[in-house]
Structure formats: structure tokens, C-alpha cells
Subunit: 335 residues, 2 copies
DNA sequence: GAATGAATTGTAAACGATTACAATAAACTT
DNA sequence: AAGTTTATTGTAATCGTTTACAATTCATTC
């Protein structure tokens, strides 16, 4: 493997000069620069990034730590992150934590060991809670979740507002017994529950204790919880889930019980997916600007890497309510 | 940041001894080992992986280069790769190429610069064709695609067989005018076309030229191509697509034209997705063992990293045909 | 008890870049 | 023309490890 020494020798200069040419080209005579570039071409020299990192104490890699890349929300965010990082000359390190605080800690440590330039992180509530006490040697941008009072860059949806609107939409369409299935590991689930509750209270309703559940953000958990709701003595007339995995499970359960959407029960959720619009009836949902979230988070991160002292920023984005068939207006009944 | 020197000082030994304790613990007295470990604990020392990489000329990072992580097939594969790598103490570098040979080259070079231990790669046909000429300084395992005659580890589906079975399934269910939409950037698309054609010929049929199309593996392209097929003077009575993106586009088009599945046209495809089983009717498809593919590829890669001289292996997996409503038996007609 | 060998530890040279500092040359000043 | 800048280049230290080799200790053997 050809090193900077070989280039220096070939060009008849010192390694310092080669380095200068390659880093910015300044402080070098044009003629020498030309000779060096020629040698670089000739030898097909490519700087060893590991050596460069060691000496300069910085890498061109950022980390992305999410619960599961298979969650369509994170799939899309990750693509945006990778695109944006790529444009700016950064590589992407991917980590799946399964909402497991231990894996989160392990990966954060790995990021430290790898000396990444920064990390985009979607933490569990648990980790988010004592986030302030964790002082990483690299900048972190939080996505999709919120972290107590820590001074940190954040990009996330206005979850309370989004859930409020989604619930209000149901209320306005005549639904009254509205159940909610919320993810139990993230602040996101909690916040969306707040919005749901607020909307109900605004109409003088209270969320029924047995109808608002916090469950693991997984399809199977969505299925199980929905089955229980449907089999209750007073089943809901509408169901709100806080992510697409829960929604998929809920839909399966509803289908399995032979119930009609929205005739027997309405279904609304968060996150646009391929299936939500292909299914009959298509699902009403709050679409998050996933690509924008990933892009913004990456831009914030790169800016902070460039200028660690800059003031932190919290970017709160609004969701877009896509009204579709799964929550069509309810025929007026006695209830 | 605490370095190995600090640990050495604290434990009253040389850095070499600390290194020995941390690497395998051999050739060190038990008592000294204990002292060193104590110092490590005390100082919360973590080895700098960048320095380690530079000296030992190897990293614990592998690269994953795919066209687009948002393709559900790759989403799932990537998760398996990350899981398996994580278990073995390796990190994952993620790259999206958009089936663009230039980006492929750029990322392969980046992997070289980053000195990754190895790469799992799903190349375009173009790159696959002159793969033999590209000699990377790291081992590569190819997934999902095949590469001419190069001696290299490969994990992929038996595409010809899978497409043959899928097409035969259609034929057996009474479909005769079977069109195919194949991805145009990969060997996979070509191979699946072969299987499709072979099945037709076995029945004494020939694929109609205007009905077998190679298109970009994107939803929009699937939509456009399907529209053209449906608007032709002799539209097909069945449509086979070679991946889930094309299938989603095809389904949209069929819906938009108000046609019934499978009454007016059957639809079958490759790759299990959330939507394929939720949609009405559910879609008949060849399910790939995506997790197994990612896992196997990673295991092959790690084995080759450990032993570069080992013989290469080609793992050809069979797809599983899931017969569902979208290809239900056709009522016998004059045709 | 000297010689031999094994086990343990330290010294110092890598790995391949960047960069502070010194050295030299060239270009201005006055 | 001597002194002062300024621009260009090289020397060598450095980043934090690993590891070849030498050195030391200690037990074993004859």
C-alpha cells in the first residue's frame, strides 16, 4: 500500500509538503503542488484515514443510533442521514439498540472508542432521563425523542400537537370511545398520549383507563393489545396507535375479528408507510417529514462539529394529517 | 482522555504489559494482571480503536454497500448483518449507492481508506461484470447478486428457480398472458427473467416481447410500466414483478385503472413485506430468507477475515412460494 | 552451583499521517 | 546594501497503540 512517504519521494519533497498540498494546497508553490499531484496520480495514492484520524484526533464518521432500522420511520431517517453525511464527506456508522438501554450504552461507548465526529441518537426514555449526566466526548443530536432539560440539539415532531389533531379528527368524525396504543419505551409515546388525552378532555371526555395502553413498540404487541381491546365488554369505536408497527398489528387483529374499518372501528396512526395507503380502506395518519428530520439532524450535527460552541437548537416539526378512509365520518348512532 | 500510558503508570508497569493484559491476558503474571485491570477500572480506560487500527493494520468495522436501505429486502438484510457483526464485536458502516456505479466505486474506495476489515456488497450488473479486475485490499462477500466467474463468496437466492416456480404457479392457475417487470440494474432482474421465460417455454409459450420489460427498480417505474401494459390493446392477465417496489407501483396502477385482482389481472412478486399480506387480496410472492441471507453473508465475511486463504463458497438459497389471493385460480374462459 | 530454558517484563520501533517549529530563500524596506 | 518581512520547505515530534526484540528473573537440570 502506497503511503505519503512514497509520494514524497516520487515528488522529491518532504511528507510535510505532500500533506500540505493534500489538505488545502496553501503554502506551497504552484510548481511543487503540480509535481506532488502528479505523483499522487501516478501512484494512485489515497491517504490513510486511520492514520489521519489518529494524528488529527477527528474522524469523518458519524454514528446513527436507533432502536431498529426496520421501523419504516428510522429506515427513512437513516437514508436522509446517509445522504446528507455523504454530501459533506462523512461516513455513517449504524447501530440498532432494540430500545435496550444496555445496548445504547454499549454503542455510545463504541462511538467514543471509534472517535466518531458526532452521533445522531434516538434514545429510550430511560437513557434520555439521565442524559445530562452522560457527557460524551462528541456532539450528539437527538432525533424523534426529547431529553429532559439537557442543552442539546434536537429534531422531532410536535408530538402533543400531532396526537391532539389526530384525536380531534376522530372526535369530529363522530367517534367517542377512542382507545390509544402507545409505545412504552420512548418519550414520543408519552407525548402522543398527552395529546390524545388533551383532545379528549377538550371535548369533556376522559380517556378510559383500560383503553389507553403503553406497550412495546412491536407489531406483535400491537396485535395482542388490540385483541384485548376488541374482546372487552365495551370495545372502542376508534383506535389510535402511535407508530406503524403497532398499527400493523392492530389491523391484523381487527381483520381477524372480522370487523369493518371504519364501520365497526376506526383506525388512525402515525407514520406514512407503503402499506398504509395501499390497504383498503387506506389509513388516516400523521405523516412525519422523515427525510427532512434526518437531513436537519445531520446538518445540525455537522454544524456543531464545526463549531462546538454554537447555541443549541430545538427543531420542532409539525406533522401532516392525511385524512383517509379508515376514519371516515361515523353514521350518527344513539351512542 | 486517559491513555494506555496513564494505565501503565498507575499500575506501575510498561505500556507493553498493559497491552498484553488487554489483548489476551497471556504472558502476564496473575498478580500484575490484577493490578492492571484495577487501574483500567479505576481510570475508566478504554483503548483507542483508531490507534489500535493504525498499528495492527486492521479494524473491527465491516462495510455494507447496498442500493437503497429503504428497499425492504435490504432493510431486513442490513439488520441481520448488524446483529451478526455486533455479536462478533464488529461495527457496521452503511452505504447507499442508488444502483449507481460511480457511487459504488466511491464507496469501495472509502472502505479502502477507512481500512475496513471487509465488505458486504450488492453490486450493479455493470460493477459485477468487471468485478474480477477490481482487487480490493479487503475481503468482499456478494449478496443478492451474482458476479461472473470471479472467485468470491456469494449469498443469494436461486433466482431462476424462484421465478420459474412463481411463473409456473401462475400457469397452473390458468393464466396465459403473463407479463414481467424486471429490475434493469442487477443480475437478479436478469436471472428472474430467465426463470420466467423458462417456465413459459416449458408450457410451449413464449414471452411476448412487449410484455417483458426491464425497468428501474423503483415504485414509480413500476407504476408507469404497468400503466402501459394495462393500456395496451392486449393487456396481460397476470403480472410478475421482481421486487416489492415494482409491485407497489403495479398495484397502484391496477387500482387506478379500476381492475380487480385476480379477476382482471393476477399479481405476483418477490419479497415479503408488511403490505403484501395486509392488502386485499394478499399478494402471492416468493419470500426470501432475508435475515438468513444477511447473517450468512456476515458469517462468511468474518470467517474469510480470520482466514483469507479459505476456499470461497457460494450459498444459493431457495425462496419460499407463498400462495395467496392475488393469484387465485382463474375461471376457465375461452382464451 | 553453573548452565540451560522458560516465563515475565521492559525498551523502543513501528503504523501513516499532521503540524509546531526551525531553516532557508526571496522580496521588500528605507 | 543591510535589515526586515514574507513565503516556502524541511525536520522531527506527535497521536495511542502493538509487537519484535532484548533483558531480566526464576526455576530446573545435571
Amino acid at each position: 500500500m502506497v503511503s505519503i512517504k512514497d509520494v514524497a519521494k516520487a515528488a522529491g519533497v518532504s511528507t510535510a509538503t505532500v500533506s500540505r498540498v493534500l489538505s488545502n494546497g496553501e503554502h506551497v508553490r504552484a510548481e511543487v503542488r503540480r509535481r506532488v499531484m502528479e505523483a499522487v496520480e501516478q501512484l494512485d495514492y489515497r491517504p490513510n484515514l486511520v492514520a489521519r484520524s489518529l494524528r488529527s484526533q477527528q474522524t469523518n464518521t458519524i454514528g446513527l443510533i436507533v432502536s431498529d432500522i426496520r421501523n419504516p420511520f428510522f429506515t427513512s431517517v437513516s437514508r436522509a442521514v446517509e445522504d446528507t453525511a455523504y454530501e459533506k464527506g462523512f461516513g455513517l456508522f449504524l447501530c440498532n439498540t432494540d430500545e435496550n438501554p444496555e445496548k445504547e450504552a454499549i454503542y455510545l461507548n463504541l462511538m467514543r472508542d471509534e472517535n466518531v465526529a458526532g452521533v445522531i441518537f434516538s434514545p429510550t426514555r430511560q437513557t434520555a432521563a439521565n442524559f445530562a449526566s452522560f457527557n460524551a466526548p462528541f456532539p450528539i443530536v437527538i432525533v424523534d425523542r426529547s431529553v429532559g432539560n439537557a442543552e442539546v440539539d434536537v429534531v422531532l415532531l410536535d408530538n402533543v400537537d400531532a396526537a391532539f389533531r389526530l384525536t380531534t379528527h376522530l372526535l369530529e368524525h363522530g367517534y367517542r370511545r377512542i382507545a390509544a396504543l402507545c409505545g412504552d419505551m420512548s418519550t414520543t409515546g408519552k407525548e402522543r398520549y398527552s395529546g390524545y388525552e388533551k383532545a379528549l378532555r377538550t371535548c369533556g371526555l376522559a380517556p378510559l383507563a383500560e383503553q389507553a395502553k403503553f406497550v412495546q413498540p412491536r407489531t406483535e404487541a400491537g396485535y395482542d393489545a388490540t385483541m384485548k381491546l376488541l374482546d372487552a365488554s365495551q370495545p372502542p369505536d376508534a383506535l389510535l396507535t402511535t407508530n406503524s408497527l403497532l398499527a400493523a398489528g392492530a389491523l391484523q387483529a381487527i381483520r381477524e375479528r372480522g370487523l369493518a374499518i371504519p364501520g365497526d372501528i376506526a383506525l388512525v396512526t402515525f407514520d406514512e408507510t407503503t402499506w398504509a395507503s395501499l390497504v383498503q380502506p387506506p389509513i388516516t395518519l400523521i405523516a412525519q417529514p422523515t427525510y427532512e428530520i434526518g437531513q436537519t439532524a445531520t446538518e445540525l450535527l455537522l454544524k456543531r462539529i464545526a463549531d462546538p460552541g454554537r447555541p443549541t437548537r430545538q427543531v420542532i416539526l409539525k406533522g401532516r394529517l392525511l385524512e383517509r378512509g379508515s376514519s371516515a365520518a361515523r353514521r350518527q348512532t344513539a351512542g
